[in-house]
Symmetry: C2
């Protein structure tokens, strides 16, 4: 609920935005909600993000994406095989799901439902390909050939996105834990 109070205003704005957009979507969050959640005045928003809400949404998406990239790295770093890494990733996500609740994928909520804006779509796609590339690299590190690494990475992405959605509908993270069986 509370964002760490000691954080600088800009970061508080980004994190509040990430949280709120994830739960209610880009259009579902007003500046009023945003500012009161981040305990920041309107002036600060437009100081740090001259283009206002859309700038902030971009930054929030990037921030959320970085978190995800770290989670992927953490899962595959200690793993013995690709499937091991994929499995721990799914389990870590299941735990995260239980903690944060039944929210959407932060990128989808922030960028896909945002303004028609081409930039938004491009950024979302860029972020997703970043995730896939990260998994891809780990797959190659485990000795998988290039093309196999790519399809495995894409498959894992698809499973997680779809699994998260079903988990959300059911308010139950179990689906996420059964995903690795499909690889």
């Amino acid at each position: 609920m509370m964002t760490t109070p000691a954080l600088p205003t800009k970061d508080r704005l980004i994190q509040s935005a990430a949280t709120l957009f994830r739960t209610r979507g880009y259009h579902g969050v007003g500046l009023a909600d945003l500012l009161s959640h981040a305990k920041a005045p309107k002036g600060s928003l437009y100081h740090h993000f001259p283009n206002g809400k859309s700038d902030l949404a971009m930054a929030a998406a990037t921030w959320a994406s970085d978190q995800m990239l770290r989670l992927i790295a953490a899962s595959f770093d200690g793993a013995k095989t690709f499937k091991d890494g994929a499995t721990t990733l799914c389990f870590k996500l299941a735990k995260l799901f239980d903690l944060t609740g039944w929210d959407t994928c932060p990128i989808a909520a922030t960028l896909f439902e945002g303004p028609d804006n081409t930039e938004f779509r491009a950024h979302a796609s860029h972020i997703y390909e970043g995730w896939i590339a990260e998994v891809h690299d780990h797959a190659e590190r485990f000795g998988l050939p290039e093309d196999e690494a790519q399809t495995n990475a894409e498959n894992l992405f698809v499973l997680i996105q779809g699994g998260w959605m079903l988990a959300r509908a059911r308010r139950d993270s179990d689906v996420l834990r059964t995903l690795p069986a499909l690889l």
Copy 2:
């Protein structure tokens, strides 16, 4: 672009709502857009849907769900095996993706990003389970044992949802056509 003009107002409203919510999300569509797209005055909206936007969203989601159920049935009816049916479903969806463009899953866009409302969430979950149940029944019809039918149905759902999302990010329906290989 144009909704069939001969359709009764109520249906025009539902279909316009389904279309617009799917592309811009529940909060992303205002009543003004909605009414001008459906070529209906405000009075008609509140006559057919006393609770306004939220009532309409529910109806639109149900309508979209029925379309999906018909698509599932059509795919499995002419199939020889479960995997055959699943494959044609994926291909039909890929074609649909190319036609409608890069929109979200209509249910997710309409109900998940909608008001916090418990009804919305419940309806979304109900619809999803309906799709899974439909696939489940076809699976059993092909002789699969109960539990296998269930996991197969859930897996297909997960693949389609995740695949659709990646296809959307890439603006390319190819992902959808590669999904059956994962069953």
